[in-house]
Symmetry: C2
Subunit: 115 residues, 2 copies
């Protein structure tokens, strides 16, 4: 019961939904998320930690850079929720805006950033 609650609780917050919406397009680095979401590093990290602990994300360190992606389908509930969720997020204005910003950011990304 509790893991079910945690899965839904993770989805009960705007920043976390926007993070999932962005990662639905593929793996990203914390610095990417910071730039696109325009939020402080600590806020981003807190939410990433929450999503990872709830089972939604997997993280991987490459040097000083930390990448996150949607977790593998090892949880039946999450596997079924994800397509439903992605479909919904695709309709939300905030997520649409985020994707546009990500595309722009990727084009103009500074040499100093990851990648």
């Amino acid at each position: 019961m509790n893991s079910t609650i945690q899965l839904f609780k993770a989805l009960s917050e705007e920043v976390r939904l926007r993070i999932i919406g962005l990662l639905a397009g593929g793996e990203l680095c914390v610095c990417d998320l910071m730039a696109v979401l325009d939020l402080p590093q600590s806020t981003i990290s807190r939410h990433l930690s929450y999503l990872r602990n709830a089972g939604w994300l997997a993280g991987e360190r490459r040097g000083v850079w930390m990448y996150y992606r949607l977790a593998e389908d090892d949880n039946p509930l999450r596997a079924e929720l994800l397509p439903v969720l992605q479909k919904q997020l695709a309709t939300l204005a905030e997520c649409t805006r985020d994707r546009t910003r990500l595309a722009e950011y990727t084009q103009t990304k500074q040499e100093a950033a990851c990648g």
Copy 2:
């Protein structure tokens, strides 16, 4: 965005999940829920109110009795979430126990109660 959050937030609590699990089997009265869940009336009513406001339930008064059922499929996200949710709730021990209790309660229901 906010209605999406509210839909998920409604599912982020045990009593509310258990209520949905019970109502998945068909309409019930508040007194039924009180008996099966073994919780005070105010607790039940609070959660029913929350679920109704989030769009999950519809209520109907018949005399002094208040019946609740799962809301009609007028929300695309909820319509897609519901089968996923029901499938998951069917696997949870707490919900299985609730259904057994409901069956027993229905058999032994007092004349004084609704119905």
